[in-house]
């Protein structure tokens, strides 16, 4: 990791320690507050990767991913919020020539939800559908009949807490549409999703690090049968193995480039995040099962994000085809 990137990592960490760490549990319970969205803008997270013509900071891929990685360590919801604005919503608006609205989003005066359920392989074109519901918000991007639509209307927030990304109010929210505008074909959105493998990997790896760090700390202090958990070989060895895998993938994230490599990392970091967070929870014992201890959210989010960002069939097929150099894995 070069010096500049390291500095970026340090800065975002400092912000997270001060502004997110103690509030992360509130994010989960009540959603990320509006003030926090303003803070993301003030920190330059929103638009970090975008051209200066759009008011962006023109960070390179690795610099942008450093932000996502760090945010995910503390709050995967926060990381996903920045990702969905920078990598999906703003480019869509800009592509459709809606620069004014894009400007509002950059400023934080307008916030736009994403109907996640039908973005990728989802079958749910029904209503209510799984969506983020960033309140207060009157806009929603969804897919209908092969088109990406920007819909304006009213949210009806779901009662039910979603599995993951609770900070963004993801759930079976209803949306009463009043007007809608086409932003492009579905393919343009798919291209954005598929073109951001590195970013998605950054989120998977960051949240894994968040969970594993917690497990390392907890196993230092928690005793059972008179010894701290870390003294037991199955605990210490398993966590060491997970930390090692995380190290390889994180190094890859911050020193390699390319479409195939991004796809490789996305496929494996998504699987890895489920495994790592599961172990991290397990080593917390009963306490891991309680929201208060801040580790179960990583477990939930890893699975939810795997469903939201990773197409278990499509992405693995794309990866296989890039490795074989021909059609494969389609049966």
């Amino acid at each position: 990791m070069n010096e500049q990137l390291q500095m970026m990592m340090d800065n975002v960490k400092q912000f997270c320690e001060q502004a997110i760490k103690d509030q992360a549990i509130t994010f989960e319970r009540e959603g990320i507050p509006e003030s926090m969205f303003q803070a993301f803008r003030d920190q330059g997270f929103i638009g970090a990767n975008l051209p200066s013509s759009m008011g962006g900071a023109e960070l390179d891929r690795q610099g942008y991913d450093a932000i996502l990685f760090r945010l995910a360590e503390y709050s995967p919801s926060a990381a996903f919020y920045v990702y969905m604005n920078n990598s999906i919503i703003l480019p869509l608006l800009s592509g459709a020539g809606m620069n004014d609205l894009a400007g509002e989003v950059m400023k934080g005066t307008v916030r736009i939800g994403l109907a996640s359920s039908n973005l990728l392989e989802g079958t749910g074109d029904h209503d209510p559908f799984l969506s983020t519901a960033v309140f207060p918000s009157e806009h929603m991007i969804k897919v209908e009949n092969g088109k990406v639509l920007l819909v304006r209307g009213k949210f009806q927030h779901a009662d039910r807490k979603s599995l993951g990304l609770r900070g963004l109010g993801v759930g079976m929210n209803s949306f009463e549409a009043e007007e809608s505008k086409e932003l492009g074909r579905k393919e343009s959105l798919e291209k954005l999703m598929l073109g951001s493998s590195w970013e998605q990997s950054a989120i998977f790896l960051g949240l894994s690090k968040g969970a594993l760090d917690k497990a390392i700390e907890y196993t230092k202090v928690r005793k059972t049968f008179n010894y701290p958990l870390k003294d037991y070989s199955p605990v210490a060895f398993r966590l060491s193995e997970l930390m090692s895998d995380l190290e390889f993938m994180t190094h890859f994230l911050f020193s390699e480039e390319g479409e195939q490599k991004g796809l490789m990392l996305k496929a494996r970091s998504s699987d890895f995040s489920r495994k790592a967070t599961k172990h991290a929870l397990q080593y917390h014992g009963g306490y891991g099962y309680l929201e208060d201890f801040g580790v179960e959210k990583f477990y939930r989010d890893s699975v939810a994000l795997s469903s939201l960002m990773f197409r278990p069939e499509g992405d693995k097929k794309a990866l296989a085809e890039s490795i074989y150099g021909s059609k494969s894995g389609y049966l």
Binding site: R29, S116, S117, N118, L120, E121, G122, T123, G124, F129, L130, D159, R160, K161, S162, L163, G164, M172, R222, K223, T224, F225, N226, P234, R274, K278, L281, Q282, G285, G286, G288, Y289, L290, E291, D292, E296, Y299, R300, V303, A304, S306, S307, L308, R311, P312, E313, K316, G329, Y330, L331
Partner: protein, 374 residues
């Protein structure tokens, strides 16, 4: 060698299945999950309908499995009011059995088991709650953590320290079991909220502040509490295996249904997903066989701790595996249906009643001592 259940148990299994499908509607399940509310009406209904029959352990086990298959949170809630009863049954005086146990069987009371302490987890012998003899009473001080039914049970079969161990390294000596009533002075409980799963079940911390316990509430003999509780875990682990098998089967049902309906719609189902279905099915079947074998030893009064720990350990890992694999296979569909609740519910199986790690310790100890699963 015979792998079929007797016809009456098969019939019973069918009845529970029907009851669960009828009563555990998605609306009910979702509401209790969202509100973290114990479904007392379902407990009563299950008892009144005769579905719950604690007198036959085979029925208890099959009932748990079938109910958890439809909804783990509701299923556990409906079958857990009796939790800890075997200790009273096996070691309680006539007085205690009459005063407490008989009322649980008829649904007039609910009970709970107070073993785990804050920071204690699986290390039972390290407990700190103390009961000091004072006249014909014990004075109880301390606290218990993660107690199922903690906020709603009428009394708790509670493991406490009544004497320092005679040898310091033998910490499991000097422990005793007392029956502690909720309405004893100095007793209080704090409901734990924000659980990842099984949110319909009630979980609380118990606090004992100079609680006076009449001497006759001592279960069995003083100093033998550790053995009573370990004996109980050898029983209850089979029921946790049943919860786990139910969850695994429920996840498997949903994936089978999902993939079949995809095929019917003409959406090609990849071999990759079919293989995952096969792995889920195989592990679920293996878990069920281990559970049956553990039960057939246990319910015939020749418990085998090795096979019991194998059943609990393997079935609980299978529950978590199946729920997670189901999420992976169904993607967005799983995320927006009850499957995500199964996923959240499943994880506790690997933690309560002895973590997976504890089961492995038991198994290896027995194996290296020369005991096996036969």
């Amino acid at each position: 060698m015979d792998f079929d259940l007797p016809a009456d148990l098969e019939e019973y299994r069918k009845q529970v299945r029907e009851f669960s499908l009828r009563e555990f509607t998605e609306e009910t399940a979702m509401m209790h999950d969202i509100k973290e509310k114990y479904p007392d009406e379902l407990r009563k209904k299950a008892l009144e309908s005769g579905i719950i029959d604690f007198s036959n352990p085979w029925k208890t086990m099959l009932g748990i499995e079938e109910m958890c298959r439809v909804d783990p949170g509701l299923g556990i809630s409906a079958t857990v009011p009796y939790f800890g009863a075997e200790i009273l049954m096996l070691h309680g005086s006539d007085y205690l059995r009459e005063k407490y146990l008989s009322k649980v069987a008829t649904g007039k009371m609910m009970m709970g088991l107070g073993v785990t302490e804050p920071g204690g987890g699986s290390d039972v012998a390290g407990l700190k709650t103390s009961a000091k003899k004072s006249g014909n009473h014990y004075i109880l001080n301390g606290s218990k953590m993660f107690i199922t039914n903690g906020g709603i049970a009428d009394f708790f079969v509670t493991l406490v320290r009544t004497a320092e161990p005679d040898v310091p390294s033998k910490r499991h000596r000097g422990l005793s079991v007392l029956v502690v009533e909720r309405n004893f002075k100095g007793f209080s409980s704090n409901k734990l909220t924000g659980k990842l799963g099984v949110r319909a079940t009630n979980t609380a911390e118990l606090i004992f502040d100079n609680v006076e316990i009449p001497q006759e509430n001592l279960v069995g003999e003083e100093g033998k509490g550790f053995y009573y509780v370990m004996e109980f875990f050898n029983i209850s682990r089979v029921f946790v295996a049943a919860q786990s098998v139910g969850i695994a089967q429920g996840a498997l049902d949903m994936v089978t249904e999902y993939l079949s309906s995809q095929e019917k719609k003409g959406v090609p189902v990849s071999e990759e997903l079919k293989f995952k279905l096969s792995e889920m099915a195989t592990r679920t079947e293996a878990s069920r066989l281990l559970m049956y074998k553990a039960a057939s030893y246990l319910f015939n009064y020749k418990p085998n701790p090795t096979i019991t720990s194998m059943a609990k350990g393997y079935a609980s890992e299978t529950a978590a595996f199946c729920a997670e694999t189901a999420m992976e296979v169904t993607g967005m569909t799983g995320l927006s249906t009850k499957l995500e609740r199964f996923f959240r519910d499943s994880k506790i199986m690997e933690i309560w009643e002895g973590t997976s790690e504890v089961e492995k310790i038991v198994i290896s100890r027995m194996m290296m001592r020369g005991d096996s699963s036969e």
